[in-house]
């Protein structure tokens, strides 16, 4: 049972990592970046290149992944998002979906359809707290929680963080107070892209690098934010863990065919019962 718990936490931590990216962008620009999970996939392939083809040490692969993620994030914001400021969720879903598709398509064109192994970590299993797990899984959990904590702290305690929170509540008011809203949005995409991509080499050691890694990941990480609340980093951790645990317990006790279906049911329940998520914050003005 503990093994399942640890597996669930580790899987959930992957969702948390993408959810952190979702939140960074959402808080600063009110955009939901459907492509975020594809950044992880891009980082995963860089991990593959680094470990299997170029013989780079882990830290180098992470840095390169961060750089690539930052560049793609910048391009995405400038080309696909900026022109749409405030025109409505409609078009933003389409363009971010488009960007995500392009990234996946590039991976397919460059690396082919077969999943690739990333060999930075020894996958030997050992006993931990009463269950079997391995180093990669524990590291992912650690990184996810740390990252959420650090980014959450920065958002709540620094000027730039507070500026983002303010802008997400009211863009015009933010502009009137001298916040450079465009810059904020730009850097949010860049930072989210870099962070999420940088975790790619680590995550891929667990999941393998594949061009359609991002599809289900994007949707399940959305469930994590739906459960935890948009804009909350605490929520991203809790939500991610809830999804991961549900998935692993569902697979163990109901069968692997029920894995994603149980997450889907969770999504429906969460959206209807907890429309703002556990720790979420959002206001709508009606007329």
């Amino acid at each position: 049972m503990m093994t399942t718990v640890l597996a669930g936490l580790s899987l959930g931590a992957v969702y948390t990592l993408v959810a952190i990216g979702y939140n960074i962008v959402f808080i600063s620009s009110r955009v939901f970046n459907f492509a975020q999970a594809q950044f992880l996939m891009a980082g995963a392939f860089i991990g593959f290149l680094g470990s299997a083809k170029l013989g780079l040490p882990l830290w180098a692969a992470v840095l390169i992944a961060a750089f690539v993620g930052a560049v793609i994030g910048a391009l995405e914001e400038v080309l696909a998002i900026r022109r749409l400021a405030g025109r409505g969720a409609h078009n933003e879903l389409v363009t971010t979906l488009g960007v995500g598709t392009i990234i996946a398509g590039a991976a397919l064109a460059l690396f082919g359809a077969d999943p690739q192994k990333v060999t930075y970590f020894d996958s030997a299993a050992f006993d931990f707290l009463g269950g079997r797990t391995n180093l990669v899984d524990l590291l992912i959990i650690l990184v996810a929680v740390l990252l959420a904590g650090i980014v959450g702290l920065i958002t709540r305690k620094t000027m730039i963080g507070l500026a983002s929170l303010a802008t997400s509540e009211d863009r015009d008011a933010g502009m009137l107070r001298g916040i450079n809203v465009k810059h904020l949005a730009f850097w949010a995409f860049v930072i989210a892209g870099a962070l999420v991509a940088a975790t790619g080499p680590l995550v891929a050691s667990k999941t393998l690098a594949s061009y359609h890694l991002g599809d289900l990941l994007a949707v399940k990480a959305f469930v994590a934010v739906a459960v935890g609340g948009f804009g909350s980093y605490r929520g991203a951790v809790i939500g991610g863990f809830v999804v991961g645990l549900l998935e692993m317990f569902g697979a163990r006790y109901l069968g692997t065919e029920w894995q994603s279906i149980s997450v889907f049911v969770l999504l429906l329940v969460a959206l209807i019962v907890l429309p703002k998520g556990l720790f979420g914050r959002s206001q709508e003005r009606l007329v």
Binding site: V94, I102, H212, I272
Partner: protein
């Protein structure tokens, strides 16, 4: 070059052209095209049905319901499973369409409560779930390997060969397009465009938004189910990998490139996205990149796709600009003011607080038929809040609101609208893609139930309803003085005209109470004059008009009674002159010093006249 007359373009049977084209395509096998081309044509036809369904929910209604490929899978498996079990084609077809409708309905239910993002994600998740659901019942569905052994389609016992299958597919496609085109050009299509623009606007016109959304999801699902049923027979085998992320993205891209709010655009988009990949060798590798780029460009420059461009180009160069004959008739006839049967609006003791902010503290308001009741007050006094409470968008914490003696407080906005309360908004809500006449007509949708089936089949009852809608719209537009704009796109008009249009829309359907929210805001002198004269004449015709306005001059000139709100309390009620000289009103607008000045002047006058 002689241009096509506007009358023919808008009223003439131009639909004959696409129909003829469809019929020609249908008989192509008998003119000798080879099996390979037949197969491609079938694929394009099936995909165009899918894109058409997507256009209904996404393009017309503005709902991000992206689960088309999942519903396609449902239709295909439903037909396939029952065909393997030995059922005839017509029966499996019906089963597939019903199953698709049911799934479309169920998956749309979240969409009623959720915002667009969540709906998009939920429906997208569905698409990704297809392989897993298929694997749940491998005995029935064949699991991940696919469902083999789907027999040749049999129609009433007789098996259909390749050519007959082809004719069937094209025939069903043509029928689907006919039905959905009729639906989209009817008042139902109009209603969807209103929903797309703003659910708030839809509710204020009396639409039941959940009902409308559900109907849309079902209508969008029907072609997908039909296409799925036909697809099941194409190869005698269903591969679950055919319905996935790639297909979903391709459908969205096809919808956008063809024109998401167009009917025939679905065929264009489907053709490009089916034939394009096949013609380019080595495309498979780059297909995703291609789709992604299309999505980005489409999302950025969503200008109606190819169909939209073609329509605009054709209209610009080949259609003249003359007024339609019924517009000319209306312009030539006398302006007759309809009798408007206004009812009394009585709000008593209304209280509304937002957290600690008490926006309304026990407010009374009475508006009688045949009068203009103005509601004024400094910013933040609660005027718009009161309007929102009266029209049902906010529930009051206490108090009653009665229209013609019938209580409406606490009712949902669309029910309040249905009891005859119509309103305008601070920023005019004019849907895109509609003409001026259609905007006015949209107000009649809820008041006059009309069957969707009748609209799809263009039955006499539906045609009559459309004629009557347009006739009333033209009459009202003539009263307000903008009838010659009846067939122009409404969203591009100048602000003053859009405000007049909103007022006209508020009049359609003999409203009991008309609420005008700052109609003169942003208008210049002459437009304000025009608006004032229209409002006065409506008052004379019997309407109950409540107007919130900052333009003091205008209020003084047309109001019969003025109510002054200040920080949530009514501080003065009376004729314009009484209110203008009321010390409390002066203080609330101009401050204590002004009030003292006024009181001094009043006292001096009284002293002097002794």
């Amino acid at each position: 070059m002689k241009k096509l007359s506007n009358e023919t373009y808008r009223r003439g049977p131009l639909w004959v052209l696409p129909l003829a084209l469809g019929l020609v395509v249908m008989v192509l096998p008998f003119l000798g095209i080879d099996a390979g081309t037949q197969r491609i044509t079938v694929s394009v036809a099936l995909m165009s049905m899918l894109v058409l369904g997507l256009n209904m929910t996404f393009g017309y209604a503005g709902e991000l319901a992206l689960g088309q490929s999942a519903i396609y899978a449902v239709g295909a498996y439903a037909a396939g499973i029952f065909a393997v079990a030995g059922l005839d084609l017509p029966l499996t077809f019906v089963i597939a369409v019903l199953a698709a409708a049911a799934v479309g309905l169920l998956t749309g239910v979240p969409g009623i409560r959720l915002g667009n993002w969540s709906l998009g994600m939920v429906t997208f998740f569905l698409v990704l779930l297809v392989p897993e659901v298929v694997n749940l019942f491998p005995k029935v569905t064949g699991g991940a390997v696919g469902l083999p052994g789907v027999p040749l389609p049999t129609f009433l016992g007789a098996p259909l060969n390749g050519q007959a299958y082809y004719v069937l597919v094209i025939g069903v496609t043509i029928a689907t397009f006919v039905l959905l085109r009729n639906f989209a050009t009817s008042r139902h299509g109009n209603a969807l465009k209103v929903l797309r623009e703003s659910p708030v606007l839809a509710r204020s016109l009396g639409y039941s938004v959940p009902g409308l959304k559900l109907k849309t999801y079902v209508i969008g699902a029907l072609p997908a189910g039909a296409a799925g049923a036909l697809f099941a027979y194409q190869d005698g085998y269903i591969n679950p990998a055919s319905f996935g992320f790639q297909m979903a993205v391709a459908l969205l891209a096809a919808s956008i490139i063809g024109g998401a709010d167009s009917i025939y655009g679905a065929v264009i988009g489907a053709a490009i996205l089916t034939i394009g990949p096949l013609r380019t060798s080595g495309f498979q590798q780059f297909s995703l990149i291609f789709f992604g780029i299309l999505l980005v460009l489409g999302g950025l420059f969503f200008a109606g796709g190819i169909a939209g461009l073609a329509r605009r180009w054709f209209q610009r160069w080949f259609v003249d600009d003359r007024l339609l004959s019924d517009v000319k008739d209306v312009l030539a006839s006398e302006v007759e003011f309809p009798r408007i049967h206004g009812k009394e609006l009585r709000a008593t003791g209304v209280e509304k607080a937002f957290g600690g902010n008490r926006a309304l503290r026990g407010v009374d308001l009475v508006a009688r038929p045949g009068t203009v009741t103005a509601l004024i007050g400094p910013n933040g006094s609660g005027k718009t809040t009161l309007l929102n409470v009266v029209s049902g968008f906010y529930k009051p914490d206490a108090g009653t609101i009665a229209v013609g003696g019938v209580a409406v407080e606490g009712k949902a906005p669309h029910k309040v609208a249905a009891s005859g309360v119509s309103r305008t908004f601070q920023t005019p809500l004019i849907p895109k893609g509609m003409t001026v006449a259609e905007v006015v007509q949209s107000a009649r949708y809820a008041r006059d139930r009309a069957s969707i089936l009748a609209a799809m089949l263009r039955l006499p009852s539906a045609r009559r309803a459309q004629r009557e809608d347009r006739a009333e719209a033209l009459r009202l537009l003539n009263i307000v003085g903008i009838a010659e704009l009846a067939d122009k796109p409404a969203a591009d008009l100048p602000l003053g005209t859009r405000r007049l249009l909103e007022v006209t829309r508020a009049l359609a359907g003999d409203p009991a109470v008309v609420l005008l929210d700052e109609p003169a805001s942003g208008l210049d002198e002459s437009d304000v004059q025009l608006l004032s004269s229209v409002i006065s004449r409506l008052r004379d015709a019997g309407a109950t008009i409540v107007i919130v306005e900052h333009n003091f001059e205008m209020v003084m000139s047309i109001a019969d009674e003025v109510n002054v709100l200040h920080l949530g309390e009514m501080i003065a009620v009376g004729t314009p002159d009484m209110v203008r000289n009321d010390p409390a009103v002066v203080e609330s607008y101009l401050g204590k010093a002004a009030r003292e000045e006024l009181e001094r002047r009043n006292a001096a006058q009284q002293g002097g006249s002794k």
